[in-house]
């Protein structure tokens, strides 16, 4: 299948996404913000529709829309401190409302491939974008590793340890928004957040340390994307679906393994 250029591109793109999405997802899940991915992807959909209508490249408009939404969430989070998820629901409604209006406005036939992902869509521009974003995300996680760990575990104490939590939070929100906008090319808007969460869920079942957790999440992400893309190619299915189902199967296998292991080690 690698004799096809579009498959080479899809694989490069897919592997980068497999590393980016679970990495940002890891921090979101552990901070109990896993719904942020869902929210931002709905807003990204309105960005895509806006791009199609105005003839801008939809990935760029999706990026702009989701960054604005991410900053909005950060702002509202302070306003509704005790109902943090309310701010997400507000932004999600705004995103999906705007998207449906924009889609019905005009020339948006291509939107389906953005919803479920597509192998044929990937352009050189996308690959360049995903590589740049990948570098930024990995540098961020590597350089700010300890600050991110501390903030994820206990944000208040991290602030009192002198970590600039507010700017790091804002920067991280922007990275999440960019991850979603770029990942939707392959995985699709509706399934981006699943790729951010399922590998992490599987990793949390077996990881004993924070570092191990990140590494497992990335490994599971990679396996899901490679298996998912291959199946998608041979069976001609939407890649988003096959990737996410692969991630789900990994999660189920780990749950079952743990179940049987506890049966064996626990005397009846």
């Amino acid at each position: 299948m690698f004799s096809y250029e579009f498959m080479q591109k899809s694989f490069i793109m897919g592997i980068m996404i497999a590393l980016i999405a679970p990495t940002t997802g890891y921090f979101l899940v552990l901070r109990r913000q896993s719904i942020v991915g869902d929210t931002l992807s709905h807003v990204a959909l309105s960005g895509v529709a806006f791009g199609m209508i105005t003839n801008f490249y939809p990935v760029y408009t999706a990026m702009v829309f989701s960054i604005i939404a991410a900053l909005g969430i950060e702002g509202l989070r302070k306003k509704f401190e005790n109902y943090a998820e309310l701010s997400l629901a507000i932004i999600l409604s705004a995103g999906i409302g705007l998207a449906s209006v924009l889609i019905s406005l005009g020339n948006t036939q291509g939107i389906l491939s953005y919803l479920f992902g597509s192998l044929a869509l990937v352009t050189d521009q996308d690959i360049l974008l995903v590589i740049m974003l990948g570098i930024i995300i990995f540098l961020t996680v590597i350089l700010f590793y300890k600050s991110l760990f501390y903030m994820t575990f206990d944000e208040e104490s991290a602030t009192l340890a002198g970590i600039p939590t507010r700017p790091i939070n804002l920067f991280f929100s922007i990275l999440v928004a960019l991850t979603i906008a770029i990942s939707m090319r392959i995985v699709g808007i509706l399934l981006v957040s699943s790729l951010m969460i399922l590998p992490v869920a599987a990793s949390l079942l077996i990881a004993n340390s924070f570092k191990a957790g990140i590494i497992y999440s990335n490994i599971f992400g990679l396996i899901s994307v490679i298996v998912g893309l291959t199946i998608s190619f041979y069976l001609d299915l939407a890649p988003g679906g096959t990737i996410v189902l692969s991630a789900l199967i990994i999660l189920v296998i780990i749950i079952l393994l743990q179940y049987f292991r506890s049966k064996i080690t626990k005397p009846a």
């Binding site: 300890k146 760990f149 501390y150 575990f153 009192l160 002198g162």
Partner: protein
């Protein structure tokens, strides 16, 4: 020299229109073991957050170690254990070593391995709370009392002068509570750490601390060590339905 390590002057604070603290004045001196008590919703946590600078007062001034709280940057000299640490997901993937080490070299990157010296520091902090053998255990697998000790170790690792604790004894069994108080005594007397602790359990805390700050309707009432707690005050703080029982075993 002024020995006040924490000082609040005419501090008021409100959440929106709801004024929770009004014109609060007190100071905490070096070596004190202070208990902050009050009914639910009497702004005990708010008061603690104001003292460390996590919240800013609407009016008045807060001083920490002689510095206005805005200019305070000597983060290593304070330890803080928030209420939130109890609510973390038990599946959170972190070892005791990672949690305690979080307070050291916060700028370390992913690939830098912790140096030997650092591991020793972590171990020493854990030894103070008698948790040395749990270094590599996953934090979620420890009991409530053990977790509490790990968080104390994390706060102790930079040798703070003052330790702030928000309800440290919720979810901790009675046996561990005794251990907790003897640990507090050790920190206070041997390590000269000033202790400030929020609690809603007035029974035990009044016997252990040397000062009580009572919060009621936005005001703070200060009880010096030689005073016994005024029962009328307690009735006001906890409401009139309270019966006060005193046991002396």
């Amino acid at each position: 020299m002024d020995k006040a390590i924490v000082k609040l002057e005419n501090v008021s604070f409100s959440y929106g229109k709801n004024k929770v603290l009004e014109d609060v004045n007190f100071s905490i001196e070096e070596g004190d073991f202070v208990g902050i008590i009050g009914a639910n919703g009497s702004a005990k946590t708010t008061l603690l957050k104001l003292m460390v600078g996590l919240l800013e007062p609407d009016k008045g001034a807060v001083y920490l170690m002689g510095k206005a709280i805005k200019d305070f940057k000597d983060y290593k000299s304070i330890g803080y254990i928030s209420q939130n640490v109890r609510h973390f997901n038990p599946m959170f993937p972190a070892t005791v070593k990672e949690v305690v080490g979080a307070n050291l070299n916060t700028s370390r990157n992913f690939f830098e391995r912790s140096r030997k010296k650092e591991e020793e520091k972590i171990y020493k902090a854990l030894e103070i709370v008698e948790m040395g053998q749990f270094m590599d255990k996953k934090i979620g697998k420890l009991s409530g009392g053990q977790k509490q000790r790990v968080f104390i170790a994390r706060a102790l690792i930079n040798k703070p002068k003052i330790l702030f604790m928000d309800e440290p004894l919720v979810g901790v069994d009675l046996n561990s509570q005794d251990k907790f108080y003897s640990l507090m005594e050790k920190l206070n007397k041997e390590y000269n750490i000033t202790l400030v602790m929020v609690s809603h359990d007035i029974g035990v805390i009044t016997e252990k601390v040397n000062r009580i700050l009572c919060l009621s309707r936005g005001r703070v009432y200060d009880h010096k060590p030689d005073q016994t707690i005024c029962f009328d005050m307690l009735k006001e703080v906890f409401g009139n339905k309270m019966n006060i029982l005193i046991h002396r075993h």
